[in-house]
Amino acid sequence: EDQVTQSPEALRLQEGESSSLNCSYTVSGLRGLFWYRQDPGKGPEFLFTLYSAGEEKEKERLKATLTKKESFLHITAPKPEDSATYLCAVGTSGAGSYQLTFGKGTKLSVIP
């Protein structure tokens, strides 16, 4: 069974204090690793897709990296508006379908 584990469950940072969120996975045949951001009362918002070990993608203060067993979301000099829950999902295919399996998320709070 595909498994996605995110850590920590919650993270409080001071504004400007850089850190990383972790997503470890166990899947049979990875077809993409996805990062989403979810604000309270809203649906997940797409951030990045990574497909192979060693791949990196950046967007503003966020950088996502991928290894064979885990992915990291690095947040550099965060601002209060970066506060949200960050969800990681792995894509797998089988029996004609393509499925995302999500982790429980990391709730990030950035304090001014």
Binding site: R31, Y36, G41, L87
Partner: protein, 113 residues
């Protein structure tokens, strides 16, 4: 470009009642998904459509949940009868094709009393 639309945004019902949710995907997206997100958890896939056909409904509780996507565009998800444990956010997502990036709507928050 308009995003995924869902309605209603909120719904409160008594247990054993029925409820229906509606989703309009991004124009041109062939694949549509319904997810259930329980508080504190990540979204869990319920059913996936490719155009108007079901691709995967292995995690849909078929004794009480049903879904359809007529004409390959809009979709409805129905629960009948509802149970207390159905309280959750129901998210609709769409993608250009089966392996494409999934874009989510705002969700419908269901509370079953």
């Amino acid at each position: 470009e308009a995003g995924v639309a869902q309605s209603p945004r909120y719904k409160i019902i008594e247990k054993r009642q029925s409820v229906a949710f509606w989703c309009n995907p991004i124009s041109g997206h062939a694949t549509l998904y319904w997810y259930q997100q329980i508080l504190g958890q990540g979204p869990k896939l319920l059913i996936q459509f490719q155009n108007n056909g079901v691709v995967d409904d292995s995690q849909l509780p078929k004794d009480r949940f049903s879904a359809e996507r007529l004409k390959g565009v809009d979709s409805t998800l129905k629960i009948q009868p509802a149970k207390l444990e159905d309280s959750a956010v129901y998210l609709c997502a769409s993608s250009l094709d089966r392996a494409g990036t999934q874009y989510f709507g705002p969700g419908t928050r269901l509370l079953v009393l």
